[in-house]
Symmetry: C2
Subunit: 428 residues, 2 copies
Amino acid sequence: MSTTTATPATPAAALPAPTLRVDGQRLWRALMDLAAVGATSRGGVCRLALTDLDRQGRELVVGWARAEGLQVTVDRIGTVFLRRPGRNPALPPVVTGSHIDTQPTGGKFDGNYGVLAGLEVVRTLNAHGIATEAPIEVAIWTNEEGSRFVPVMMGSGVFAGAVPLEQAWAATDTEGRTVREELARIGWLGDEEPGRHPIGAYFEVHIEQGPVLEDAGVTIGVVPGVLGIRWFDCTVTGMEAHAGPTPMALRRDALQVATRLMQEVVASAAAHGPHGRGTVGMVQVHPNSRNVIPGRVKFSIDLRNASDAAVEAQADQVRAAAQRLQAETGLDIRIETVSSYGAQPFDAGCIAQIGAAAQALGYTHMPVVSGAGHDAVYMARLAPAGMVFVPCKDGISHNEIEDADPAHLEAGCNVLLQVMLQRAGLAA
Amino acid sequence: MSTTTATPATPAAALPAPTLRVDGQRLWRALMDLAAVGATSRGGVCRLALTDLDRQGRELVVGWARAEGLQVTVDRIGTVFLRRPGRNPALPPVVTGSHIDTQPTGGKFDGNYGVLAGLEVVRTLNAHGIATEAPIEVAIWTNEEGSRFVPVMMGSGVFAGAVPLEQAWAATDTEGRTVREELARIGWLGDEEPGRHPIGAYFEVHIEQGPVLEDAGVTIGVVPGVLGIRWFDCTVTGMEAHAGPTPMALRRDALQVATRLMQEVVASAAAHGPHGRGTVGMVQVHPNSRNVIPGRVKFSIDLRNASDAAVEAQADQVRAAAQRLQAETGLDIRIETVSSYGAQPFDAGCIAQIGAAAQALGYTHMPVVSGAGHDAVYMARLAPAGMVFVPCKDGISHNEIEDADPAHLEAGCNVLLQVMLQRAGLAA
């Protein structure tokens, strides 16, 4: 993954359909119509996986797909494949997609854009009577967000064999209902075996969920890959004592030691640039009382980088600092792994194709790594895969104020259209 | 206030009653009997101010006092004065005392020891038929802890004119009941005007509530004064964003800035030694989610020192650091004063007298500043005042495991006996 930020004026690649464009207004209307399902009063969407609202969202999108003549298949984890046949049914489909479940206080675009951009590609091809050699499919992956049921990216994870179906089915929400029960209840427990579905290539468009494109004033992000992630919990144990009567020299202040390690988390990211990320997002102080020296502090550590080796180097740096601090202060410091996701580079061919299409379409573009996971991460294990990012306002997502510029969404969809056509091949 | 830790072998001062000693076992029994009122399953006491348990505690102690022939007066804020007349009723009484209300998970000794040590002085004088020139009084100050009703040290604060009676009466607990209602309900709303009570001198014995005496292996702490306190709330506001997609350079991480300022709080204490204290006890991170860069962090700052000027110098250091951090990072940092208590040195004569008595009694002793407030702070505004500390186990108080050595409690009480006798004068 390299991310030089320049947009060189390279010669435009020949587009497979040089004058064909998606209908940006139709795409926007579809986004707004879907956003009405689970709309929140603050302009966002709450459509948790496998709720009645998820069912309504699925019915709406699949209804649109049927109206476009697409064939519908549902697998046993509830992922939906909407197929536009090609001339050559022996060819594996070129697939795009994303998810339509949201965070509890989610926005209109995260996931939904990827699914509806796929639908817009189909509508555009239909409107122009364009046939492809390979089939084209739009996937609606089940439970990407992981808000209601863990793990995240459940549908694509099961599809890729990374998450056993039985385990995914057994996952429960806070009220004890299982994924399998809820799939059956909302009528989306399909019968296709997950993974028994050929994928010729996979593309996914998504809002960036970060500030890089907006900051650079660039329209298209060409995603070289997804950062590897390691999550840890760190607990520093000192001795709780009164803030007044305890002289500094006799304190075992867990927070003061913890704050030094928290800074090392950030330092580890800076030391492993340009893609290193280090975040302490969650802190619990015990007893958390104004005039009591904290006896115990627990905090989360989130490390990310473009290679697993770089993530591990960051983790080593944090662990070494913890050992030094423990030796220096005598306070106990424990760091436990919570979870870990490997870095996933995308296919060089797909990356090049996306960049060339953006260039030929006249859009500014630049490489932007994905710091967050997406269904495309699992698809990249199965087939050539690539992702297209478009800017989102202030880099904000997973938030009701998540917003995106219709022109950017249209641009990303045009890139998707061209790369899918290129892969699928225009039928003569 | 100076706190050299040596215990020089100076010549013993002449004690007023060289062979007279309190009964340590009787004192211990009284402590255990009072601790049974509101006893918790974990060995502590929960006897919040002006509850039925506080009433029972008051009745128990006042019953013991009546049995010793003491006269009982109650003022309008519920503080009780138990008076042993002197030969010369024109002399102002030598007063000792403390409080019998506790924290919700309090211990057996905080406050209770000061009241029952006063009772033990009286019992000792009675048992030996010793009369004094000035009267001797034991005060039970209302609501020292401030757990149920704010402010802390309410009874002594009203007595000293620092807290208006009407304001104290109007204070409410979490269920909306006022101090005045609760005083009337439990039958301890007296009719003496607070402060209309002469105080010749005031002594208070107390567990240290800190680790200094135990750490030094010393029995008696001679308290030069009480540290001044300033409490602040600090809020650092950045921008909440996803931990993955947001490169380090584009972050506005409120926690990373806050942790640097938290370290300055501790540094300010070290820079203003030996009595500087700096504590961050309470931290609230928003939104406090593992994979979200914190957008806002609020934390408490507790600064203490032996002079108000030194506390202010610490505060200046922290504020200057906040300004530098704000200029450097662009994040908004606000520091608001929550409350402030002036430093209170004790009377030089009382301090000398306590040290001399401890020395003459053969107890190891050293100066130990009080980092926490006590009723003696307000009494020091009205009369010569001094405090005697004894060690508590592991420096822990405001905790159900609060513990103290009976021999230390007896020693502190013997010091109290001698200094009160010295002030009150033995009747010939």
